[in-house]
Structures are given as structure tokens and as C-alpha cells.
């Protein structure tokens, strides 16, 4: 048989069932591939064996990469931060447990922006991740490693986390499928917290069918996360080839009027809208008037929650400690040495927003804007089954090009943050290729599809139909050039 690294998850499972491939061969094909992208922080070859997986189950023998924000008992977990260097958690995240129980095997822990704060993976304390499409460009973030391994032939699938776009944006920039399901559908237990009212786990895969396969395993209520609710209906495998009878809205604020949208991204998006019409969808323009305030509300709410969640890194129970004579001095020295610049910036921003005298003006207003954005979506879903937008206003940008301007970096999440604030599901699928502003190589453009809470099966079905019509080349960029 051909190179097993070219197989999707569903194809690999089929080859195993047919006796053409063993789980060990599939795993070894990836484990033996050198990581030239800086995408892994831990792999079983260098640091002992991976956790034990079940012999049977829906994902038996499927190799999977795990973002380093998920705890796995006995394996290091850094969340991309120096403050957790050497930390080995005593328990396993529920999402990872569910994968292991379904028979998936852990290929490694993937690099990420420190505590999931970033849109380029340049905020990792352990080095940059390279985009397999162009090694001088970022893979997106914060789940940059999890996107790069799937696009770069280092894993057939992976999981990441999305707080304001951290699955969808890197999926778009790396030309893979990434999905953030409805808030609460997958347990957050054992997932290192950034902004608890927004954080959600989700899969990266090469096609839509594989996303459904992983989602079906990951979802479920968990007694260790009282905000988890699972999926009300089991996730169905997508089969749709057309969009007949589906009403699709195109919110102007997040498409043609989106801040910083590149002409190439716009062209690919417009072509995709035309494809949706050809597939039988009723497509019309719609409005989300408050969506343009999403970034403002998000950059109050997420840092506020982060400043509280990250108070636990104090040098007492785990991770780094910088010695000092007094307790207060130990806290300050430990936190100042352990956190990187972006994390410090967000802790400062969040602490300011929650501080006496500013709480209502900043935090209170942002929570009210969150209500307005959620209401805009509810109103749009009265008229439309789904909404589509570009996932990211730009294609993958060059390493270092936005690192000096935090606000420019935050704008990378312009199209993805509103869904996070509303808690609704959204997927990014590759829609085509475009050159960056000012010229350069052809790079992937993502299409974002969103729907009401718990409409995952409809989103996946529509994504499957669009994916079939677009005919994007899903094969990974294998190291050494050929794909």
C-alpha cells in the first residue's frame, strides 16, 4: 500500500479493517517522521511510552496528537509556559481519556501559544511553529502545533482548544479542518484553563468526515466538569452532497466589511458563496450589527477571566518557584520569571478591568455587549439555518510581522470571536488558495460555517457538501517537499 501518512482517519480505519495496515505501522509512519516544524513539545520516542489505549473502539489504532494544554497522567504538560516547565500532572483530561477509551494512540503533545494566548504560536516559551505551506510563515494560533502536525504529515488528526478562534484560525492558515463545537459539549476537565466561560476543546482533521468521527467520541457530560452537557443528539456522519433547502446567511460585518480583510481572501470567499448557490442553498446577505464590537468585548472578558485563572501559578503547588525570603516576594519573583510578555500583558489588562472603579465600565459593559452579540445571532437564525464567513481576514502571515503590535495580532480573530462569545458551534474548512496582500505564495483560505447551539450535525453535513464541491487537495505536505 502507499504511504500511510496520506490516509485520512476514516481511510486508515478502513485499511486496518481490510487487513492492509496494522495500527503499529500507521503509528510508526508518523512517529518515525522527523519534526521539522517545531510542532511537537513531547513525542514518545524521546521521553518514554505514551499512555495505554484500548484495543477496540471507534478510533482503534488511530494516531492522534494532543495540544500541550491537556493533562495526561505521567507526561509533561507545559501549556507553552516556562512556569509549568517540568510539571507532570497526576491525572488525565476527560477529552483525552475518551480518545484513549475509543482506541486512539497518543503521537505527542503539540506546541502552542503560552496558555493559549496568541494567534501565531509565536508566544510559546518553547519556540515558534512553522507553517508547512511556507516555513517562513506562522501556522496561526493558539493551537498552532495541532494544526501544523495535521497539515504537515506529522499526524492524521489532533485536538486543540478554541477560546476566541484558537482552533478555527490555525486550521484556516494551515489548510485543514478545525471545529469548535457548542460551549459545554466537551468536558474541560484536565484542560488547563485560560478563559473558562469561552474555552472549548475540538478536533483538527484533514476532512469533514474525520471531524465528525472525533467529535462523536469527544462529546459528553462529565461529572468532573459541571458545565459540560454533551450533545443532545449523537453526532451523525456527514453524507450530504448538496445544499438543497438550506438557507445560508452571509453577515456583511464579518465578510465584505470585515476589518483587515485581504482581497485574495475576499475573492475565494465570494467564489465559495457562488458554490453554495450552485449546490442549491438559498443564500442572502444578513447583518450582525454588534459583531464588530466582538474584539473589544473579548479583550476585556478573556483577560479578566485569565487574570483570575492564572492566579494559581504562585510557586506553591506545582511548576516553577523562584526562591525568596518572604511569601509575597516569592509570588512576585516566580510569576515574573515564569510568564512571557503576552501573558503578563493579559493578566495586567484583566486585573485592570476587574479593579475597583473600573469594573462596571469595562467588565460590566463587555458582558452586556456579549448579550447583544448573542441576540444578533439568535435573530439571524430566525431567517437562516447557517451563516458563512471567511475564518481569518488574512492568509498565513510572516513570522515576526505582527509580533510587535498586540492590537494587530488581536484582529486576526475578528471573524471568529463573535461565535465564541455566543457559545455557538463553528467549523473552518479549506475553501481555496490565495496570495497574501502584496504578493507571495498561494496559501490556504478558510471558510467558517456557524449555526445555532447544538447544530453540529447540520454544520458538518453542509461542510461535507461544500468540501465535495471545492475539491481542495487534502493531502498533507510531507517533509521533503512531495505531497
Amino acid at each position: 500500500m502507499s504511504d500511510p501518512r496520506l490516509l485520512t482517519v476514516a481511510e486508515g480505519l478502513g485499511e486496518i479493517a481490510a487487513g492492509n495496515l496494522s495500527a503499529d505501522e500507521w503509528f510508526a509512519a508518523y512517529a518515525d517522521t522527523p519534526d521539522g516544524l517545531g510542532a511537537y513539545l513531547w513525542r514518545p520516542d524521546g521521553g518514554g511510552a505514551g499512555p495505554a489505549a484500548a484495543d477496540s473502539g471507534g478510533l482503534a489504532g488511530v494516531p492522534v496528537a494532543i495540544k500541550d494544554i491537556f493533562c495526561i497522567e505521567g507526561l509533561p504538560a507545559t501549556a507553552g509556559s516556562r512556569i509549568l516547565e517540568g510539571y507532570v500532572p497526576p491525572y488525565t483530561a476527560t477529552a483525552v481519556e475518551r480518545l484513549l477509551e475509543a482506541g486512539a494512540r497518543v503521537l505527542g503533545k503539540t506546541n502552542m501559544d503560552e496558555f493559549a494566548m496568541g494567534s501565531s504560536n509565536e508566544n510559546s516559551a518553547y519556540g515558534d511553529v512553522r507553517n508547512p505551506w511556507d516555513l517562513e510563515r506562522v501556522p496561526g494560533g493558539s493551537s498552532g502545533g495541532s494544526a501544523a502536525v495535521v497539515a504537515g504529515g506529522l499526524a492524521p488528526c489532533s485536538i486543540g482548544t478554541d477560546t476566541g478562534g484558537s482552533i478555527r484560525q490555525p486550521a484556516a492558515l494551515c489548510g485543514v479542518v478545525g471545529m469548535k463545537p457548542t460551549y459545554g459539549s466537551i468536558s474541560r476537565s484536565g484542560m488547563i484553563a485560560f478563559a473558562s466561560s469561552l474555552d472549548q476543546c475540538g478536533p483538527f482533521t484533514r476532512d469533514v468526515r474525520d471531524a465528525a468521527l472525533l467529535l462523536a467520541v469527544l462529546g459528553g457530560r462529565d461529572r468532573r466538569d459541571s458545565t459540560s452537557i454533551g450533545f443532545p443528539e449523537p453526532i451523525a456522519l456527514p453524507t450530504r452532497e448538496d445544499l438543497n433547502g438550506i438557507r445560508i446567511g452571509v453577515p456583511r460585518e464579518l465578510s465584505s466589511d470585515a476589518e483587515g480583510i485581504e482581497p485574495g481572501v475576499k475573492r475565494v470567499f465570494e467564489r465559495t458563496v457562488a458554490r453554495c448557490e450552485e449546490l442549491g442553498a438559498e443564500v442572502a446577505e444578513t447583518y450582525l450589527p454588534n459583531a464588530r464590537h466582538g474584539i473589544s468585548a473579548y479583550y476585556v472578558l478573556a483577560p479578566a477571566e485569565a487574570s483570575a485563572n492564572l492566579a494559581r501559578y504562585d510557586g506553591v503547588r506545582f511548576g516553577l518557584r523562584e526562591g525568596a525570603d518572604s511569601l509575597d516576594e516569592m509570588y512576585e519573583r516566580t510569576r515574573s520569571a515564569g510568564f512571557g510578555p503576552e501573558v503578563k500583558r493579559r493578566i495586567m489588562l484583566g486585573t485592570y478591568a476587574l479593579s475597583s472603579g473600573f469594573y462596571d465600565a469595562h467588565y460590566g459593559s463587555a458582558q452586556r455587549v456579549r448579550t447583544l452579540i448573542a441576540r444578533d445571532f439568535t435573530a439571524a437564525f430566525d431567517d437562516f439555518d447557517l451563516l458563512i464567513t471567511p475564518t481569518s481576514p488574512s492568509v498565513a502571515f510572516e513570522l515576526g510581522s505582527r509580533a510587535a503590535d498586540p492590537l494587530a495580532m488581536y484582529m486576526s480573530d475578528y471573524c471568529t470571536v463573535p461565535m465564541s462569545l455566543a457559545g455557538i458551534p463553528a467549523i473552518s474548512i479549506p475553501a481555496g488558495l490565495a496570495a497574501p496582500d502584496g504578493g507571495g505564495p498561494q496559501l490556504p483560505v478558510g471558510l467558517q460555517i456557524t449555526g445555532p447551539a447544538f447544530s453540529e450535525s447540520l454544520i458538518l453535513d453542509a461542510a461535507h457538501a461544500i468540501e465535495g464541491a471545492i475539491e481542495f487537495d487534502h493531502r498533507p505536505k510531507l517533509p521533503g517537499g512531495s505531497s
Partner: protein, 94 residues
Amino acid sequence: MIDREQVLHIARLARLRLTEAEVERMSEELSGILDHVEAIGELDLEGVEPTSHVVALENVLRPDEPVPSLDRERALAGAPDSAAGSFRVPSPQA
């Protein structure tokens, strides 16, 4: 505008010790971000309920029966310093 004094005050609240260079940069960057964020101050938010959580949840209860949890030894295994089955820290009064 976030001035130097405010930066130092927030840093104290957040238990961060910033270098001179960091204080200066933080003042500039936080001011820039807050300028953008303050656009929402112009919206009419009168009577709009705040959203703290997007999913309507009911309280989750279970019978009050003890169940095994992380044992002491494993809970202390990751600690930078421990003694007599406890986390050890420098004196809070020093």
C-alpha cells in the same frame, strides 16, 4: 491612558514585578488596547442584561457521599517544596 503609577498599582495587584522597560512598554500597550476597547462605552447598554455564561444550566447535585480523590503523596509530587505532608512556603510575615 494608563500612566506609570497605574501600571505599578495593577502589577502589585497581579503579583507581577515589572522591569523599568516593561513598565514603560506596558503603559503604552495597555493604553492602545484600552483605546480600542473603550469603543463599547459609546453603545447604549441601558437595560441590557449581562451574560456571564452562555449555556442555561441547572445546578448539578449528587448525594453527599465521600469518594476517593487525589491522595496526599501524588498531590504533593509536583510541589517545589513540601514538608510533613504539606506544601512549604517562605514565611508570610518576613
